[in-house]
Symmetry: D2
C-alpha cells in the first residue's frame, strides 16, 4: 500500500502518419510486425515475440507526430497511485477509460514537464492469440518470425530543448523511478546533454537528448529489437534495396554496446532504430557512466559511421507532439 | 525496513577441480576470462563484461565439485535479513566475514533444503580495474574481449533427486524470491520435473532439473554468456579442434529461446554451457509456461541435436557438493 | 578446337512433385525464390542472386523424382563436343532443342552410367530482369532478398548403389572433368563410399554417396546457398515453426567446412540442404582429402548433430529417377 | 604446350615495415596468423585455412612499402612461359631461384607496366604442417582458429596514377589472363577509374583504383578473409579497443557484395582490409558490371559509412614500392 508505484516496461508508442498505407508496408510487410486490430483511424501492431496486444499504434493523420509513449505499471493499483503522485507534484493527468485504446485497460495520460512528451500509464492489457495461420508453436512467441524479424519494442529516445534534458531526467527519476545508466554533460560543468535511463536491466528504456531546436514533445526515435547483429545487417541490406532512407548505421554504440541502424518510416518520416545486442545491468549499485567530451564520440559510435554531431543532421526533429487525447 | 530482502543477480560459482592448470587453460586461455587474483588454492576469474571482482572461483582440489553458488543481494542489509528469515524457517546459515573470498564482503552460507546445494549471499564486492594491458576503453567492460569471448556469467542449472524439484523450487520462490518462468511436470499430474526461475528478466538465473540419481548438491551446468549466436558457433569450432568434449549443441532451446552449447571443462569435468540470446521477461504478470509431455522435447531442443532424454546421458552427475566450509 | 569441353557450373535441377502448391509455398514463399515463369506443368524459379533464367524447375506430377541435373558448359561448342565424346564412350545422348525448357538453349541429355542420374548439358540461357516490384538495385542481384534469403543453387548430392560410387566418380572425372576434393573409402582398401567433386573452387558441385538400396537415379539432396551461418539458424527457426521436417542440423561439416541444414520440401519430400559458408580451393595441385574410418564421423559432423550412419536414416531414398525427356 | 600460361590464385604479398614487432603483434597476435618461419629480416606468416607456406611476408625495414604481389601459376611450366611472353611484350623479368623466398620454388619478378607494381610468379611452394600445438584436426585447415580468425589472403587493391588504371587493367587482362568483373569509368566517356578483376570466381583477386597522386607501385590495401560478417564486427570491436586505426567500416560494398573493414597495421601503416562474404561468379559469359556516376557511391558503400571520395582520405598512399630484388 505504502509501496511506491513502479513502471514495469515500455508498452507501446502511438505514431501518427500522413501516409498510413506506406507506414503499414514498412512496419508490417518489411519489418514483419503483426496487424492485430483496426479501430477507426488506428491500426494496432505487435512484434512476433510480444504477447501483449500492441506495441505500436499507427494513426491515420495529416501530420506526423508522436502521440503517446505508453508505459505498463508493475501493479494494477500503480496507475491510480501514479495519478495521485503526479497531481501532488503539479502535473495534470487525464483519465482514459478501458477500451479507449483497443485491448488496453484504464490509463492516465499527461505531458512530461519541460519536455512536453505525451506519456501514458496503464496496467491492464489483453494478450490475444495470433490467428492460427501465423501462430508460433513456441509459447513465448505470439507469431512466427516474418519479414526482417523485428521481435519487440525496445526503447524510445526523446528530444528536448538543450536546457530541458536535466529537468526531464529529474522527472523521470524522481517522478517515475527511472535510473540513470549512462550520460553526457557539456564540458566544464555544463548542463546534461544526453541521458540513458531505465527501469529494467536494459541500459535504456528511454533516452533524453538535447535538440538544438525548441519544439516540445519531439521524438528522436523509437527502437525495435532484433535477435542478432546479423538481423541488423540484413535489415540494412533489404531496406536499402527498397529505398527506405537509412540515416546512420549499422554500427555499434559504445553507450549500451548495442548495434544501431537508424532508418525512416517512409510513410511518416519518423525515425526508427533497428536495435540488437547490448549489455544488461544487474548490479544494484550501478555507477552511471558519465562520458567525457574527449571520448563521447566513441560512446555514440564505437565502430561504424560517426554521428554527425557538428551539423546536427541526426538531431532534426522528426515529429512534434499532438494534443493530449 | 519491512521490505522483504531481495536477490539482485547471480554473482559467481566456486568450482573445485582436480586439474586446475587444465581448468585455467580452458576458462582463461580458451574462453578468454581474466585471472583477477590468486589466494591459497583459489584462482579468481571474471569475464570481460563484468566489473565485479569475480564470477568464477576455481579451487585446486582432489575432487571436482560444486563449492558455492553465490548470489548478490539488492541492498547491504538484505544479507542479514535473509539470515534471519532462513533461520526462522529452520535453515542453518554460516557467516563468512569479509575477505573469506577475495574482493567480497560479509556473506552467509547455507545448503538449500532438499537439494543440498551450497548457496551464498553477499552484497559487498570490489570492482577492480583490469591491468592496463588488457583494460577496455569501454567503461562498461572491464577488459578487452579475448579468446572465445565469454562476457559474463549467465545462470546455473542444478540437479536434484526426482522428488526434490518441487520442494527446491518452493524454497527458491518462497525463501529467496525467484519466479517461475517456464516448467515441466510429469504427465498425469505428476511431480515437477524441471523449472526455470529468475529474479531478473532473464528466463532463468537458476534452473532445477530432476536427476535419476540420488546424490545431493549436484550441478548440471554453469552457463556463461556470449554476445551472439556466431560466438557460440565459433566456440564449438575451436573447442572441438582442441579436443574439449562437447556434450550437445550448438542448438536452440525452445525454453528461453537461447542457443545452447554444452561442453566439459577438461580439468574438472564440470559441464559448462556457452549461452547466447534468449528472450527477456518484462511483463509483471508473466504466466509461467508449463510444457506438456507431447512438446517438451521441442522445449529442450527447438532446433539442433535432441536432448538424450531416454538414456540420461545429459543428466549424469558432473559434481557432488562439498561440505560447507 | 582441340580443347576438351568443360562444364562451368551447376545450372539447375528439375524436381517433380506430387503437391506443387505446397512445393511452391516452400521454395517461393518460405525460402524466398522468385517464380520466373510457368509453362505447362512446370514452374521455373531462381534465387535472388541468380541472373540466369532458373535454378529450379518444379514439375507437377504424381511422383516425386529427380528429373534433371542440368550443367552449363563453358563455351557454346562444348555441348556438341560433349555429345560426341559421350557417344564415343558408349553413352547415348538425346538432343533437346532450344525452348524445351523455357529460357534455355539447345541441350543434350543422358543418364550417367552406373548411377543412372538424368544429366543435361547446355550453354545458352536467358538472363531476364526481375519484375520491377522486386528488382534489386544491386546489378549483381536479380531481385531483392525475400523470405529466408536463399541466394543461389549450390550443389547436388546423388545416391548410388554401394558399388557404383567409384564408377560414377570415374565418369564424372574422366567424362566430365570434375576433380575429387574430399572422399571416404571403406576401411581395409574397400570401395569408395562417398566423394565430393567439383569443376569450380567449391569443395563440391556434386557429391556421390553410397546408398544401401539399389534404386537408380536417386537424389540425396539439392543444396541452396544462404549468405551466412545466421541465415541457416533463422531458416531452422522459421521452418521448424512452420512444421517443415528437419532431418538434421544446423551443424557444421568437417568436409567442406560448411554449415548444413537438411529439410524436406513438404510438397514432394525431396531433401533440400540450406548451405552456408565453406572453404574454397584455389590450389592447382590440391591433394584430395581422403578421410579415414576413425574420423569420418568428424568429416560429416564437425559440430552439431551426428549423422545417423548406423540406421541409414539419412540415406533413405528421397526420389527415384524419371524417364529421360 | 601451346596452352596459354595461367595464374591460379594470389599467393602472398611482401610488405616491408618500419616496426616489425608491432606488425607481428597485429598480424600474428591480434589477427591470429601463424608465424611459419623467419629468415634474415623476413618473417613468414599464413592464416589458419592456408596449407601453403605463407601468404604474408613481413620485412624489417626503414620504410613501409609494397615489396611483392606474388601469384601462383596453374602449372609448373607456366612460370617460364609467362617469362617468355612478358619478354616478348617488352617487360623485363628477373629470375629468383628456389629458396630466395623460404618454402617457395623458382620465380620470376617484374614491375607491371604503367602502375609499376612489383609482381612475382611462381608455382612450387611447400605445404608444411603446423606445429602440433596449434595443428588443426581438420585436414583442410593448417592450424586452429586463433585471435580474430583471419583465414586466408583474399585480394589486393593497387593504386595507380589516374591515367594508368586502363593500361594497367589491359596488362592484367591481356598479359596475365584476369577478367574484368566490375568497374567504374569517369562520366562522359572518361577514363577507367577503378576496376575489379579476377582469375578465380571471386569478384576480384586484384583491383586497380586511380590515385590522385603520381607515385608508382602503390598499394591501397591487402585483404584477408574471415568466415562471417560476425567476424568482421568482432574484429572492429577488438581492434578499436586496441587503438588500431580504423579507416572505414564495417560496412557492405555494393561492388562484390562483401563486408569491408579497413584498418591500418600499426607497425607499418599499410592498410589492411578484413573481408567477409561476397558473391561468386561461375557464369562463363559474365557481363562486367560498369557502374555509373549516379550510383557509384552505392557500389562503394551499399550500407555503412560512405567512402570519403571528396577529400580522398581513402586514397592516400600507404606505401610506395621498393626496388625489384
Amino acid at each position: 500500500m505504502t509501496d511506491r508505484p513502479e513502471i514495469a516496461h515500455l508498452g507501446s508508442t502511438t505514431l501518427s502518419t500522413a501516409d498510413i498505407d506506406k507506414s503499414l508496408w514498412f512496419f508490417r510487410d518489411l519489418l514483419g510486425m503483426e496487424e492485430v486490430a483496426r479501430d477507426g483511424d488506428s491500426v494496432y501492431l505487435r512484434a512476433f515475440q510480444e504477447l501483449e496486444h500492441h506495441s505500436l499504434i499507427l494513426k491515420d493523420s495529416n501530420v506526423n507526430q508522436l502521440e503517446s509513449v505508453s508505459w505498463r505499471t508493475k501493479r494494477p493499483e500503480d496507475v491510480e497511485q501514479f495519478a495521485r503522485q503526479l497531481h501532488d507534484s503539479g502535473i495534470e493527468t487525464v483519465e482514459a477509460p478501458a477500451g479507449t485504446k483497443k485491448g488496453q485497460g484504464d490509463s492516465i495520460r499527461f505531458f512530461t514537464p519541460h519536455g512536453g512528451h505525451p506519456f501514458e500509464l496503464y496496467y491492464d492489457i489483453d494478450k490475444p492469440q495470433a490467428p492460427e495461420a501465423i501462430r508460433s508453436k513456441l509459447p513465448s512467441n505470439s507469431s512466427t518470425r516474418r519479414g526482417l524479424g523485428v521481435r519487440r519494442i525496445d526503447h524510445v529516445n526523446l528530444h528536448t530543448a538543450a536546457d530541458a534534458v536535466g529537468p526531464t531526467e529529474a522527472f523521470l527519476r524522481d517522478g517515475l523511478g527511472f535510473k540513470r545508466r549512462e550520460s553526457f554533460s557539456a564540458p566544464g560543468g555544463g548542463p546534461l546533454v544526453a541521458t540513458w535511463t531505465s527501469v529494467t536491466p536494459q541500459v535504456h528504456d528511454v533516452a533524453v537528448v538535447a535538440n538544438p531546436g525548441n519544439a516540445v514533445g519531439q521524438l528522436h526515435h523509437v527502437a525495435f529489437n532484433v535477435e542478432s547483429y546479423s538481423d541488423s545487417l540484413t535489415a540494412a541490406d533489404v531496406l536499402r534495396d527498397h529505398d527506405v532512407q537509412i540515416d546512420l548505421g549499422p554500427g555499434k554504440h559504445g553507450i549500451g554496446q548495442a548495434m544501431f541502424l537508424y532508418v525512416r518510416d517512409p510513410g511518416s518520416g519518423h525515425r526508427i532504430e533497428i536495435y540488437a545486442g547490448g549489455y544488461l545491468i544487474f548490479a544494484p549499485d550501478w555507477e552511471p557512466i558519465n562520458w567525457k567530451a574527449e571520448n563521447f564520440a566513441d560512446g555514440l559510435t564505437w565502430y561504424g559511421e560517426p554521428f554527425p554531431l557538428a551539423n546536427h543532421a541526426m538531431s532534426e526533429t522528426t515529429s512534434s507532439t499532438s494534443k493530449l487525447i
